[in-house]
Structure formats: C-alpha cells, structure tokens
Subunit: 243 residues, 2 copies
DNA sequence: CGGTTACTTGATGCATATCAAAGAGGGTGG
DNA sequence: CCACCCTCTTTGATATGCATCAAGTAACCG
C-alpha cells in the first residue's frame, strides 16, 4: 500500500503486456494513474474481443461490467417498442462504456467491425475508488464530458436541418480523430448510412441525399472505403453552428 | 419530516437554519451525508434567489459555482448562432446545476418563476471531496442519472412523433412529481408552450394542437393554472413508449 | 379595465419521410 | 478468377407531419 520507490519503468515491466503497450492509456480511465496504480487496475481487467455486429451489452441487462474501448468502433443505441432505433453515440478507442447508476445498462452496444475492449467488474472497480480516488474523479470528468456531448446532440436533434446535422456529424468525427492523434482529414466513416440516420434523427435516404448535396456544393468529397475529405472545413463549421 | 437520532439532532442544531429545515436534502447532493459532514458542507454554501426570467448562469461563462435547486423551477438551454433555442432540461427542487469538466458552463440557466438555490464554490466543493468521498460518489451517481435521461431525450427528439413527445413529457413530469413526493396527478406545467416546444423539438403551435388532440382523445384534461389531469395514464404511457 | 403576453385555431407550404427501383461494392463459392 | 448474391447506397416520385403564416381568443397583471 505504501508508494514504492522503484521507477515507473520498473513497475511497467510488471504490467500485463496488454497494458504495457496500450495505445489509448493517455485518453481513457487510466490517464491520471501512476505506475503502481496502473498495476492495481490492470490486475483486475480482462481483454475481450468482438466481431462485426456482435452484441457487447444489452439495454436492461444486469450491469456487471464496465468497459474501455481499446480498438475498433462501438455503436450505442436504444429501441422504441415498435422497433424504431436511436443511435445514442459511437465509441472510439479510449472511450468508456457501461456507466450507470442503476442495476442495469441504459442502452445497448454493438461492435461496428472488430472491436477490442478491456473489461472490469463494476464492483471491483468501485472497490478501487477508496484506494485510488483519482479513478473516481476521472470517471466523473468523463461523465461530465459525455453530458456536454449529449446536450450538443439534443440541439442537433431538436433544431438542426438535415444539412446542418450532417455537417455537425462530420466536424465532430474529425475533431475526435484529432483527439486520438489521427489526422483531421480525411474523415473516416466506418458506420452505415442507416447508423448515421438513426444517430441524426433522419432516414438513410435523406442522409445519402444530403451527402451528395454537400458534395455538389463543394464542401466535401466522397472517397472509397467510407472516407470523406472536408474540402471546405470553414463552410462546414459555419453550417454546423447554424450560422 | 423523518425521525432523527438524538446525536444527529444535536448536530443539526448547529446547522445554518437554511440547511436544518431544507426540504430537499434527501434527494440532492446532501442525501448520503451524516450530521457532521452536512455541517462541513453547509459551512460553504450561500443561498441565492432569482425572479422569473433571471439568468442564473450563461453558457460559456467561467464555471465558478455549482448549485442545488431548493425551490422553484429552472430552465436549461442552448442557442444556435442564429438564435434557435433548445431547452436541454428543466430542473426541480433537489436537482443539481452547473456540473462541467471544463472552465466554462456548457448551457445557460434561467429562473422559471421564483427560484431559490444554494450555491457552492466549485473549488471549495472539490476540496471537500478528499475529506468526504461520499460527496464525489454522489455527484457521479447524479451525473450518471442525468446521462440516462439525456439518452431518453435523444430517443424522443430523434424518433418520436409530436403526440408521443407530449405524452412522454407529461409522464416524465408526473414521475418527477412522484420522486418529489408530489401527487402524480394532476401534472403541474409551469413552463410556457414555447419552452415545451424548444424542449421537444417542436413549435408552440404544434405543442398547442397536440395538447388539444390528446384532450379530444380523452387522454388528458386541461385545467386552469397550467394543470393537466392524466385521465388515461395507461394510454399515455403506451403512446410515450411508441407502442 | 385596458394593454400585453400567452394560447389556440385555421390555411397553406415545405423539408423530410415514404415508396420504389436502379447502381455499386464486397464477399463467397464454384 | 469470375459470376453471383446480398447488402448498402444512391436517385427518383410522391406523400405527409409539422412548420410557417395569420388571426382570433383567453389569461394575466399593473
């Protein structure tokens, strides 16, 4: 329990290999932890993988784990009684999954392509909070960020036109690439038109049409493999802001 | 009032009067605190009041305080560049205001009628976290609840019809009355049609029309003073769930 | 009691949904 | 390696739910 005097380096050698060379450590739950704390946290994690379309968690299911995305993309969604779907978010490497104050998960999560996560038992992680208050602080910080993002999404869903929605979506994806040290442009769009539609409160047809309109106006260029080049980022940002 | 242990009672006598007879203590930040911890927290709170329409915080302004609503109703909102407004939420007694992981507030807040709050310096409150970890845990729990509510709102905004939106809104207001130990029915609607419209992604006209439609269908009855009687709660709940 | 603001109702228009079908990839088995 | 199939995407034609424009009515307040 006492801090060790050994260097971080020495301690890291003791870490499970998966943590030692984790590419997203600086942007996730682990960011504020020192070597010894990392070691404690790594001691209780499990690595799991999912293939395209696999269910990671189901809304309403008992919330026994929380997760960190280490690679790939995750789609979060909720369903209405008659099957209408709302995608509540997309998670990228470094993002956190499974936070809830209830007994059950509040939304479902599916793998969008191959996904790797590290998984923690919720009770074990919470037990660590006493020992490492920084962890809980970090979680609160991440939750606050999610809350801010959720409010932006409410503005988008409630008051933006289709063009403004798509522009906002592309700018947001680009900004998240920057945060993950991926070039801002081109924007990688791994999700289907239908996923985008359910995320923006539109239909696939309208998403498709709106992409072509932005292309015709010269704001974007569509490339193979779901890549979108932002040929006029300033104009897109103005559109996204509702100017 | 709940029965209290003698020891608690003694300590409570030392509390500022505003905390000693606070009606929302059990549902807010203070809920998990014992007498002594309450005392510490009360030591750094200020009581402030606002009249109808007053700005409580402004989006983008430096986030130096956090608040607890003790009486009245608060409207949270965000604006687009051209003035379009989205109401991101309504706060009732017991609700928390001002949480952010950034330097600034993420949305604006206005009083909807007379409002009383207790205000804490953000830095002082955060300093208390070390001493009272329960406080931070409580804040994380409240943030998680807010996040779940935000996702429900995304489903509403993205995929529900006007009728489903109004039904969901009324059921949610009723449920929050129950949580505050106010009878489930009639639902008190202190906000204007325009507030409701900006909350549900509609126009005032559509809100008004939809209320009359629900009335004609026999699901609600509109009474003076913004009271709505839920004459067929089951039907409203089915409608809200998208059945 | 008069002025003001909020609410309701009606007529019309439009952005986006819906219905329909034709391309475009992308993976698989022959 | 090609042909086929399946799914995703794009484009077109039409429909519709809600917005917009426009009065009138009720509620509120000084």
């Amino acid at each position: 329990m006492k801090p060790r005097l050994a260097t971080d380096n020495t301690i890291n050698l003791d870490l499970p290999a998966v943590c030692a060379d984790c590419g997203v450590r600086e942007m996730t739950l682990c960011a504020p932890l020192d070597g010894q704390e990392m070691h404690k946290l790594c001691g209780l994690l499990q690595r799991i993988e999912f293939a395209d379309g696999d269910a990671i968690i189901d809304e309403g299911e008992s919330a026994e784990h929380v997760f960190n995305v280490t690679s790939g993309v995750v789609r979060l969604f909720k369903l209405l009684a008659d099957g209408r779907r709302t995608v509540t978010g997309f998670l990228f490497p470094g993002d956190f999954l499974g936070l809830t104050n209830r007994e059950t998960y509040v939304s479902s999560a599916e793998a969008l392509g191959d996904v790797r996560l590290c998984r923690f038992s919720r009770t074990k992680l919470e037990a660590l909070f006493t020992d490492i208050p920084k962890l809980e602080k970090r979680l609160l910080g991440m939750a606050s960020n999610d809350l801010a993002a959720a409010q932006d999404q409410m503005v988008l869903l409630g008051r933006k036109s289709a063009g403004e929605k798509i522009a906002s979506f592309l700018i947001a994806l680009s900004d998240r690439q920057i945060a993950r040290a991926v070039p801002a442009d081109p924007v990688l769009v791994p999700m289907t038109r239908s996923d985008i539609a359910d995320y923006l409160g539109l239909t696939t047809e309208t998403v498709s049409r709106t992409f072509t309109q932005l292309k015709v106006k010269g704001l974007i260029r569509l490339e193979a493999g779901g890549k979108v080049v932002l040929t006029d980022r300033d104009a897109l940002e103005d559109l996204a802001a509702g100017a």
